[in-house]
Symmetry: C2
Subunit: 258 residues, 2 copies
Amino acid sequence: MEKPLILVTNDDGINAPGIRKLIELMKPLGKVVVVAPETAQSAMGHAITVRIPLQFHLIQSQEDYTEYSLNGTPVDCVKFALHQLLSSPPDLIVSGINHGSNASVNIIYSGTMGAALEGAMANIPSIGFSILDYAHNARFDEAEKYILHLVKLTLKKGLEPYTALNVNFPKSLETDYKGLKICRQSRSYWKEDFEERIHPSTGKAYFWLKGSFSLLEESHDTDEYALKNYQVSVVPVHFDFTHYQQIEALRSWENNLT
Amino acid sequence: MEKPLILVTNDDGINAPGIRKLIELMKPLGKVVVVAPETAQSAMGHAITVRIPLQFHLIQSQEDYTEYSLNGTPVDCVKFALHQLLSSPPDLIVSGINHGSNASVNIIYSGTMGAALEGAMANIPSIGFSILDYAHNARFDEAEKYILHLVKLTLKKGLEPYTALNVNFPKSLETDYKGLKICRQSRSYWKEDFEERIHPSTGKAYFWLKGSFSLLEESHDTDEYALKNYQVSVVPVHFDFTHYQQIEALRSWENNLT
């Protein structure tokens, strides 16, 4: 049987420890192509680059392993890999391991999950991995077996069409995680707070975004609940934003235009 | 009764004709505050600015009308308005009028809809308006009465919690649109094509993204179908990415970790 082709990307940039760990884990499983941003692209969501031209660099090329960097966003990396660099579509796209949570509403701001959703849009099974630890030396040891489990299952069974997985790992306490939980995205909100500072030469104010995360529910079937219980959260996600329950409710708005 | 407070933003930048038209339409309806990007921010999706500090400029301040620009993305504008500039939450957020479609999967790349979804996340009724015409002199005349209809209804009746509307107008044929249709997001895909050019001084290749849009269905209840029939499409949207049908299907993946 031919080796599966695995595309690896992330949003923390090609030199982040998270992607280096993910590459190391993927290499024994297939042919690996890395296309990752040159520089950190956190919080880029589903942004694409339309105002500057894209340029890529071939970093390494060995048997069954090729590595490119791109001066774009994570979504650019997936598009550029699928439509420019690869001659056939990959069997799997993995994105991460992101340094920081992409659970709950964080998915919408996430470049890591932007890349995974872009893969799903191209109907390629895609998984985003994130760990609730921003530290450069975040400990990935406990996550390894879960990554291998999910990747092997996805390569074997596939995912439903146009679906990705949003996988988050609790910050490691240096003990085994308490299993894996299939769950839904929890409702939450970022209460933002802008820190004001004064520019030393112009005397003008500038601001840094400094939010605090508020969970809006305590339900047991959510990703945040699983993570709080030191479980690995897995949310199957898609990219249909339609609020179906509201379609009939708004039907009367079609009428009475003057 | 006190005048409603309406926050206006966009992704084409504060000087785009689309936002100037939207401001003109909103002024008679309430107190209007504009917080819009200094420069074009198309295709920024739900990106937020975390690597450079934000700075705003007060452009105009009159009775019941204030206008600010911000060196950030559309989502930054909404966050900065809600948490820094405004002393009380607005009754409505409107974003647009975007020059170009945000129907179907375009919503995920859209800064216009990123701003509207950010409003919905703050539980403020929010509407994104877009027209299928990239021209700087796009004709908004036919759209006006639909914008007023939707804004007045939303101010009067509200929207369901955590919901926004994605409103798209066909390119004007200089005749009345054939009504308004509440619909769902259609399934589609961008087949990307990167145009390669050679840099005149370095001799190196660079690339521009140049996709073509493929509709993956012909169903009559979708936004693309309404637009093709010269109707105004209105899709109620939310920001829960969970693919609920897949939760039980993947339950067995919780087991058998070695």
